[in-house]
């Protein structure tokens, strides 16, 4: 009788633990496509004195496309087009930024929690800990996020983007 009871207890405990672990894995698996939609809309940031960075990001399938420009004293000094697509193999987004007057840069970007994302050069997608530079994005609210640029573990700049409700 004792052996039978012990077996039942062990089986029940193990099954219970297994379900708990499964539930935790399901909870921690973030939906990158949904989270990236937080970027959709028009945004504005005062990057430097007299320089405003503004633009808009739109959905395209599971990806995003964007156009941004930097204006200094009303004059456009930088123009940029973006295209981002979800890579299911890495469960991350791949982003290309095309600048007028220069070339293209590829990044990878992903959310590590519901409000926080990291962006770094594409070549470090498999070993992000080795990147010399990265952007940490933090959604403070649905209408505001910050971008912290770090180089060699040193914070170089922090930019605040506010939703542009034109």
């Amino acid at each position: 009788m004792k052996t039978f009871c012990l077996t039942i207890v062990i089986v029940v405990v193990l099954l219970s633990c297994s379900n708990g672990i499964q539930a935790q894995i399901t909870l921690t698996k973030l939906n990158q496509v949904e989270l990236m939609k937080q970027f959709v809309g028009a945004w504005k940031s005062e990057m430097f004195q007299d320089t405003i960075w503004s633009g808009e990001i739109k959905s395209f399938g599971t990806g995003l496309e964007g156009y941004f420009k930097a204006e200094t004293k009303g004059k456009v000094v930088i123009e940029q087009k973006q295209l981002m697509g979800y890579d299911k193999k890495t469960d991350k987004f791949i982003e290309t930024d095309l600048y007028k007057g220069s070339g293209i840069i590829i990044y990878t970007i992903w959310f590590a929690s519901k409000n926080k994302a990291t962006e770094l050069p594409y070549e470090f997608i498999t070993n992000p800990e080795k990147t010399p530079s990265k952007w940490d994005i933090d959604f403070k609210s649905a209408d505001q996020f910050t971008e912290t640029y770090t180089q060699n573990n040193k914070v170089i700049a922090v930019y605040t983007f506010n939703r542009d409700k034109k």
Binding site: F60, G61, T62, G63, E65, E79, K81, Q82, L83, M84, G85, Y86, D87, K88, K89, I94, E95, T96, L98, Y99, K100, G101, S102, G103, I104, I105, I106
Partner: protein
Amino acid sequence: MKPFCLTTMVVFLLFYSNITQAQITQTKLDQVELMKQFTGYWKCDIAKDTTRFWDVKSFGTGFECYLKVVSKGKVIMEAKRLWGYDKNIDKYIGLEVTKGKDMKVYAQWFTSNYKGEAIPYSNISNPEMASFKGESEFKSPDMYVITTIVNNIPVKTDTYTRIK
């Protein structure tokens, strides 16, 4: 006599060196200029009543592209691509996002004035290992063909003609 021969040899080597340098200069292709051949609005008949339209617009030295496949008047596929020049590899990089599909990253470059190649970006350091390859050839400013090669076997050829 020997010093004369040596001098002649040095002159010959210098001359030969200049020829080699000239050849290198000649074979260096201007990828940015050559890619401009793709600018425009193109169409490709891929099946009966089904046409692929390809709109390529300049943005700086890069291009923004919109692709749609129309069958019997209905759009059945849409994709966007952003192409940009990467001077470090002297090639173009393109990210393609297709509605309902996973994204793709390509590297593309011209190998002569009218012929180019495209491979997955993941194969950029070893292009010969790419299982997928696209070969493009401009037959005229208003027509080009793309041959899709899978595992070294050509599987299809699409002909694009300029609409505008």
